[in-house]
């Protein structure tokens, strides 16, 4: 499903070369729930962004669903991302002037109001359709973000610290929804520095200073 072959990503920050990923080679199968763990600055977010096609590796090759996504044009890569990859962020990133349903419908190419509402119902947000993000709790915001990530029925969901801003109760709710998606056959790659998530994972990958350590 996802293959990284010796992927390296370096940044230039304040005239200094920073290696965020160093020759990372990974193989993630369809239907896996993979947790990428490691401390802050270990390269977790960079790894997810690279898999999402938003951060071109400095070296190495990356294939998603047997496609070298960085060989695609920017437009093709955006379309590929919209059709195959769902993204959940730690900071939710809901658009403040859109209501809950509209935020879910922001997923590119989706004109499925009924589908969006059904997903939101499944996530326990049936009474929040017309609310704006400022009227939602952190847990509700993250559930909206999950609905947005799942609307196009992606093959992979990339979740970057999805429980980082949630209390343990809301974190459990969010993780159980991701787990439901995984049980339905989806692939989840979740970055975290906590331990609560590990119970949901088939596999854990440890990152430190851009290197896979386990």
């Amino acid at each position: 499903m996802v293959t990284l072959e010796s992927v390296t990503k370096t940044y230039r920050a304040a005239a200094r070369q920073v290696t965020a990923l160093s020759k990372v080679s990974l193989e993630i199968e369809r239907g896996e729930f993979v947790v990428v763990c490691g401390p802050s600055g270990s390269g977790k977010t960079t790894l997810l962004m690279t898999i999402a096609g938003m951060l071109r590796p400095t070296q190495g090759r990356l294939c998603v669903d047997h496609k070298d996504i960085y060989a695609l044009s920017i437009r093709e890569r955006a379309r590929f991302r919209a059709q195959n990859i769902g993204f959940v962020f730690q900071m939710f990133h809901l658009v403040p002037y859109l209501n809950v349903v509209e935020n879910v419908l922001l997923a590119e190419g989706s004109d499925q109001t009924a589908g969006a509402k059904e997903l939101l119902r499944q996530l326990g947000l049936a009474d929040r359709f017309s609310h704006n993000s400022s009227q939602l709790s952190a847990g509700e915001k993250q559930r909206v973000a999950i609905a947005r990530a799942l609307l196009n029925q992606p093959k992979i969901v990339l979740a970057d610290e999805p429980t980082g801003n949630l209390d343990s109760e809301n974190a459990s709710v969010v993780l159980s929804h991701l787990s439901d998606y995984h049980r339905a056959g989806g692939t989840v790659i979740l970055a975290t520095h906590g331990d609560q998530v590990r119970q949901y994972a088939n596999r854990t990958i440890s990152l430190r200073d851009g290197l896979v350590t386990g």
């Binding site: 977010t45 962004m49 999402a52 938003m54 951060l55 920017i74 437009r75 955006a78 379309r79 590929f80 991302r81 919209a82 059709q83 990859i85 993204f87 962020f89 900071m91 990133h93 658009v95 403040p96 002037y97 859109l98 509209e102 419908l105 922001l106 997923a107 590119e108 190419g109 004109d111 947005r148």
Partner: protein, 382 residues
């Protein structure tokens, strides 16, 4: 979710940014609309004010004594009234506002006056313009200041002149010149009073100001008129022509300086607002890119908003500019405001086409910056 819906939602959310951008467009459009609406009035006003200096083109009978004419301003000979029709019937001419007159010294109630008969002003075909001179009705008299004072005439009074009855329509203000001893009436009345039926002594006109600096207007005008009326003499009052041309050029120059300045300031203002909008929406741009929205979609969101800003600003600016011109114009253009200051429909059409394009151009760089945002960097920074 359509781009238009997203744009309107964002406008409702960031009302201040939208209103400030609209204000920039509205100010630019309002100033330009007010200026262009007033420019017509200014031109007309200048033309009317120039009338006090007289028409700048004089066509007199060919057998007139030039010395006498230059000395008194009154030709000593007359010519048939039909000469006017011949001039009026010409196409491709460089003169306008043709006014036939008959002038003669006349003794009236013991005072030497100049009887001046004025025909209704006419124009060559396709050149119809609002008359710039008096339009005197038959039976009415316009008397100069000295005449009215010495003969103790007042407006509305009925008087006799050479067995004809006239009503004093206006007692003119003191001019300090020959007009103070003038008695002006309709050409027909003057022909009756002076017993010169069908005769005129002069055709006055205004050149069209279309000459370029290298032209010799007198030669051109003489050539054109001689082709129709070989029996007349043509005089061009250069000082008056020059003042008229300079006045019009001054109005044009003022616009040429003011317009780019206003447009530049408002353009920068719109650009700054657009840039602030882009910066405020970095996270939103990042998330949209992460969700697979294309560069085109991102650009459409910003440029589409700019078009709406332009459209709303143009409408508001047109209304504001027209209101300004109509409200303040009469105080500036005292003579012609009522006839010339009107809402100009073509300016509205021009505004709603040009302003959105202008706003789009001013927002183009910010929109391209938005398109160029790296979603990975944007989202990581958040």
């Amino acid at each position: 979710m359509t781009s238009l819906r997203l744009i309107f939602k964002e406008i409702r959310h960031r009302t201040t940014n939208f209103l400030l951008s609209v204000l920039a467009v509205a100010v630019a459009v309002a100033l330009l609309v007010a200026f262009m609406t007033a420019a017509g009035a200014a031109e007309r006003e200048a033309a009317r004010l120039m009338l006090s200096l007289g028409y700048n083109l004089h066509i007199i009978p060919g057998d007139s004594d030039i010395g006498q004419f230059l000395l008194t301003g009154i030709p000593d000979k007359t010519m048939p009234e039909e000469y006017l029709d011949k001039l009026t019937g010409q196409n491709q001419v460089t003169y306008n506002h043709l006014l036939a007159s008959l002038q003669r010294k006349f003794s009236w109630q013991g005072m030497d006056v100049i009887v001046t008969g004025l025909a209704p002003e006419v124009c060559p075909p396709g050149e119809k313009k609002t008359p710039i001179g008096f339009q005197i009705r038959q039976g009415d008299l316009y008397v100069g200041y000295q005449v009215a004072s010495r003969l103790e005439l007042h407006e509305g009074q009925t008087v006799q002149m050479a067995n004809k009855t006239f009503r004093i329509a206006r007692c003119l203000a003191e001019s300090g010149g020959i007009d103070d001893v003038r008695v002006q009436c309709h050409l027909r009345d003057a022909q009756d009073v002076l017993n010169l039926p069908g005769q005129i002594s002069e055709i006055r006109a205004v050149d069209c100001l279309c000459f370029v600096p290298t032209d010799d207007p007198v030669s051109i005008l003489r050539q054109q008129i001689a082709a129709v009326l070989p029996q007349v003499k043509v005089f061009h009052t250069r000082a008056i022509a020059s003042i008229r041309a300079k006045t019009r050029q001054m109005i044009g120059s003022l616009f040429a300086v003011a317009a780019p300045l206003v447009i530049a300031v408002c353009g920068v203002w719109i650009g700054v607002q657009a840039m602030l909008n882009v910066r405020a929406r970095r996270q939103e741009i990042g998330i949209m890119r992460a969700l697979g929205h294309s560069s085109t979609r991102i650009a459409v969101l910003f440029l589409g908003k700019a078009l709406i800003v332009g459209l709303v600003g143009a409408t508001a600016g047109f209304l504001l500019g027209t209101a300004l011109a109509l409200e303040l114009g009469p105080a500036v253009f005292k003579i012609t405001a009522q006839q010339t200051l009107r809402p100009q429909a073509y300016l509205f059409g021009l505004s709603v086409v040009v302003a959105p394009v202008f706003a789009g151009l001013c927002s183009f760089i910010p929109a391209m910056i938005a398109v160029g945002y790296d979603p990975a960097v944007t989202l990581r920074d958040q």
